[in-house]
Amino acid sequence: MKSLQFENQATIAERYPELFRTDWRQRSKIIIGLGAAVALFAYGIYQLDIPLNRLSDGMLRLGSFLQLMVPPDPGSWSRALIYLHALGETLSIAFLGTLGGALLALPFSLLAARNVVANRIIHFLARRSLDTIRGVDTLIWALIWVGVVGLGPFAGILAVICSDFGSFGKLFSEAIEAADKKPVEGVQSAGGHHLHGVRFGLLPQVIPILLSQVLYYFESNTRSATIIGIVGAGGIGLQLAEQIRVLEWQRVSFLILLILITVSAIDWISGKLRFAIIGRRAIA
């Protein structure tokens, strides 16, 4: 890289020496930080026992998989119908999971919001239990629910409800805490009960924000519902995992294509809906 040069560089440097001096304290901090990051990276490669020589072999094999993937082909019409049905299951899992999680999380998030329930202990307990629920991945919830209601999409729905309950509880309570408290005070000073304040002062402020968060999660749940089938909880992931295991690459690429199209369609629709609900406001 050619550095910027001026004809009278020497004079400029002479006149403003403090601008051209190297700040070694600043620089050594950066060097130490970068060195630590690189050292940890190298340690990771060593500790994980990553065989770098297998990388090129693997890439070749991956290339041959990719070649086998084109053109995407479900095999037969009846199989394509099975895949579409699985896709429908995936969408149902995402939809009902998001809806159920949101409905359950709404009352709970009021408990976890400091400006609604002033009790410190309740607030703390509600927050920590939400954190615990969020710490468990959707796939793990799916494993648990498969053990309860058996294989199939119903277990997937319950799993998404559980993991969304944790996320929504946190997001909702944060949105509620960020709300303006003047309308609530107004309702109360006009003689309203505490709950009236929540209903008429608080909820109208936060409902659009909550709805847009729900829509955003519906998008992201469509993605996670595509893989939940890997542990047997229904949807297109089951088919995908199966076809990958039996090396039917054309079907695999067909399924991936199906997922890509669905996800972008859902993104598009929910983007429009979100725009209609709150305009171009960023979600917190």
Binding site: G44, I50, P51, L91, I244, R245, S264
Partner: protein, 295 residues
Amino acid sequence: MRTAVPEYPQARLQELAGHYANAVAAKRRRIWLGVALLVVATFAAAWMGEVSLAKFSENFWRFPAYFASMAPKFAFATAWADLAEWFWGLPRWLRLLGDTLLIAYVGTLTGGLTAFALCFLASANLVKSQAIVFVTRRFLEFCRTVPEIVFALVFVLAFGLGPLPGVLAIAIHTAGALGKQFAEVVENIDSKPIEGIAASGGSWVQIVRFGAVPQVLSNFASYALLRFEINVRGAAVMGFVGAGGIGQDLIEAVRKFYFTDVSAILLLIIATVMTIDFITERVRHRLIGLEGTHP
């Protein structure tokens, strides 16, 4: 003293009240239509998703029972010995947890660097060629839309079992997700430094290095930390498909009904995830605080 309140004639008042009633009714109709659509969609999805409330209520006792069976044998008198028995595999699990964190770290760093290299090409304010921007964006979109565990499934076949497919899967997904967020940050930067360097004859690389990078670095670091947090969760389940980390032991314990092992491993994962969340949140708040004071 009396003040005259202006009063509309009755006919005008009625007209206004009528307009108001109409407006409210229209809003109500829209809401009810939305609710009706939601109900229809719910029933359709419930039918498709094989929701069965009978099965649910019949088997729900298994859910608390599952957690009850996960609880270890614990008596106060022999607390220490019980704890030791519950966490009998602690050294091995801690090593696997360490592996999980390293998978997340190596994957995030590799993916983050790729995203860093690509995000400037995906920013319409730095690249004039629409074709380059379009192709880069579609590539990033592909990387983040395919779930990482699907990548992991394919990579396990290509590279063999072990952490390598997990790292690669996380790296690719991270490149896609961070690439998009980075590009959005770059598109929102102040254009004056860029114009300044372009005007004094800087090349494209110099424009990026001295005009764009100093403005975006703290934001990039904050997004990368958030992604690391997400990737720790992702890496914890990579073992489900044989791509390394603690997930392997977890799914084995679940499949073989080693209930107390399940709870022990789950608790370790939750504790790790919470710790990482806590640390990254602290660091991110400091980074966001830096914004603005940064040159």
